[in-house]
């Protein structure tokens, strides 16, 4: 079954905002895309339209947070983290304010709009900022848990959301804990580390590998930062190799975060990163076509696992 993260996000934020009038949604003329429109429609007094001005939006959110509000700032991931980077750094992260940056339509998920609207660098540039927590919920069921966790964190949070329907890989009862990876499926030979859209691909890779007699563990990372290093080692323990797969640049994303956790081990597990190489996006009529072209498929993940186990 597939479900849309954005719809789940809007509903989750609305529920949270109904319970807490200090939750405020800001958007830069993309509220239908980001689904902050659910706040505008139902709780207009808790919605602030900021026009097409991302820098001003983020600094305005800082001002709201300084007066006790919990602002959720919405736009596409590429604009949130790129156009407003300095405002996030100087005005939000440095003073450690409770501003939540929601980067919607991340990765290749805005397939039609092309390179200017697709974003593979958001997790890298948000992760490097002190005080920032970086979350990438895996599916629509997990999104509300991530939103509630973000609201409770006494500091800035970046939440990465996908634009399209994604397979459900968790259930209501699945635990969600910031900083901790979650094993979605057991396996002995290789750990497949995934998040967001690559979770579904990881499941496919696991099936492909099973046919070849390879037992793959599927470990989901909904937190990129901060990562509990002990929990990461525990999650990978017993397998002989690690494959990370992400809809993000292989520089500064999930693969880098996992490598940073285990790289200083005395005998670190061999690790290979599947992800987007050093390149920009482009338009296509389908998401799947782009994912395949950019090397993000279950087959590609399985091939990487086979290769590293040789």
């Amino acid at each position: 079954m597939e479900k849309n993260q954005r719809m789940a996000y809007g509903a989750a934020l609305l529920e949270l905002a109904r319970a807490n009038r200090n939750i405020v949604a800001l958007d830069a003329d993309l509220c239908a895309s980001t689904q902050s429109v659910q706040i505008e429609t139902n709780l207009p007094e808790q919605y602030v339209e900021m026009g097409i001005g991302e820098a001003n939006m983020v600094s305005t959110a800082a001002g709201l947070a300084l007066c006790g509000k919990i602002p959720f700032v919405h736009t596409f991931a590429v604009f949130a983290t790129g156009r407003a980077f300095d405002q996030i750094r100087q005005g939000v992260c440095l003073p450690n304010l409770k501003v939540k940056i929601v980067g919607s339509s991340a990765g290749l998920s805005d397939f039609g709009d092309g390179a200017t609207h697709q974003c593979f660098e958001d997790m890298a540039i948000m992760s490097v900022l002190p005080h920032m927590t970086v979350l990438a919920p895996v599916d629509a069921v997990e999104v509300p848990k991530a939103v509630r966790a973000a609201a409770a964190i006494d500091g800035p949070v970046y939440i990465r959301l996908n634009r399209n329907d994604l397979p459900l890989v968790t259930e209501e009862s699945t635990p969600f804990e910031v900083g901790k990876p979650l094993t979605l499926a057991e396996g002995r030979d290789v750990s497949l580390c995934v998040n967001g859209v690559t979770a579904g691909m990881g499941l496919k890779a696991r099936e492909l590998l099973e046919k070849k007699g390879i037992s793959a563990r599927l470990v989901n990372f909904s937190t990129i930062k901060p990562l509990d290093e002990v929990a990461v080692r525990t999650a990978l323990a017993g397998t002989r190799a690690v494959v990370t797969a992400e809809e993000h640049s292989v520089t500064g994303g999930l693969g880098a975060a996992v490598a940073a956790c285990i790289g200083s081990d005395k005998s670190p597990l061999p690790l290979v990163r599947v992800g987007i190489a050093d390149r920009y996006g482009q338009s296509a009529h389908s998401y799947e076509q782009l994912l395949e072209n950019y090397g993000l498929t279950g087959t590609a993940i399985a091939a990487a696992a086979e290769e590293i186990l040789k």
Binding site: G53, L64, C67
Partner: protein, 284 residues
């Protein structure tokens, strides 16, 4: 605090003395042998003194009062004037001023909210007015009647984000927000009109929907009057364009970019103090 219709001589004398103390505090914070932003701090000293010792509702003993007025020094490098005002108002001891910019000091090179009395982090130019918009929106949402004051420099107006914030304040008719442009006409590398001219600042602000007042930013009666008129504007944000002199009060640093960010020798420091003491801090 309160409305001054007829200019009260005693109040004016008090404010002029406060402005003089702010200027002496700037020199204290600058110290000797280390670079610091003297010129832009001195140019806004009279406005800052009028805000802290006349206009703003604030209390160092109730720093968390949700209904306190907020001040944001968007031109964060001029924070020396704010530090001096905060010390004079009792947010921290005057002796702390001398630690400005030293390792471990609560007084950083640019404003940080860990410092008592500092409301927002600034320093990357052009962001303070947007923060003020957020604070003004929050006040409206919470039904509080506090006011938000933001000081920007005229050179800073080259930052595009300020114009985004001007539009936002106009769109939301934020009449609880007052912008003060410290128009000293000089930026780091020279005269603003030569380096990167932004002509007709009052006209531009008015065109963006702001009720705009133009004053002599060193004339205390004009400052007080403009602050009162700005806070009585309804249905629109108000801007005060204050014509000022960079380095005002320190004769050898006036009207030059040489002391935008420069150091004082021990001898300079004595001359600077003497100059401040000699000048009536606010020209009448």
């Amino acid at each position: 605090m309160g409305k001054v219709n007829e200019m009260d001589r005693e109040l004016l004398d008090t404010l002029k003395e406060k402005a003089r103390q702010v200027r002496l505090g700037i020199i204290e914070a600058l110290g000797t042998g280390n670079r610091g932003h003297l010129g832009g701090s001195m140019s806004c000293a009279d406005v800052v003194a009028a805000l802290y010792f006349y206009k703003m509702r604030h209390n160092p003993k109730k720093q968390d009062d949700p209904n306190r007025d907020r001040f944001i020094m968007s031109k964060g490098h001029s924070v020396l004037a704010q530090y001096a005002a905060l010390a004079e108002a009792g947010y921290f001891g005057r002796d702390v001023l001398a630690t400005t910019k030293s390792f471990g000091s609560i007084l950083q090179g640019h404003p940080e909210r860990e410092t008592p009395g500092i409301e927002a982090n600034t320093g990357s130019l052009g962001q303070g007015l947007s923060v003020g918009v957020g604070m003004a929106l929050a006040g409206r949402m919470d039904g509080l009647d506090y006011r938000v004051y933001v000081v920007v420099g005229d050179g800073e107006l080259a930052e595009g984000q300020i114009w985004e914030a001007l539009m936002a304040a106009n769109h939301y008719a934020l009449d609880n927000l007052t912008l003060i442009v410290d128009m000293n006409g000089i930026q780091a590398m020279g005269r603003t009109r030569d380096r990167y001219a932004i002509a007709n600042i009052p006209g531009r602000l008015a065109a963006f929907g702001w009720k705009t007042f133009e004053i002599d930013g060193h004339d205390m009666p004009e400052i007080v009057s403009a602050l009162d008129r700005a806070s009585s504007v309804k249905g629109a944000p108000a801007a005060i364009v204050a014509r000022t002199v960079k380095g005002k009060g320190v004769d050898f640093a006036e009207n030059t970019h040489a002391y935008h960010n420069n150091l004082l020798t021990a001898e300079d420091r004595e001359r600077a103090i003497a100059s401040v003491l000699k000048s009536s801090s606010a020209a009448v």
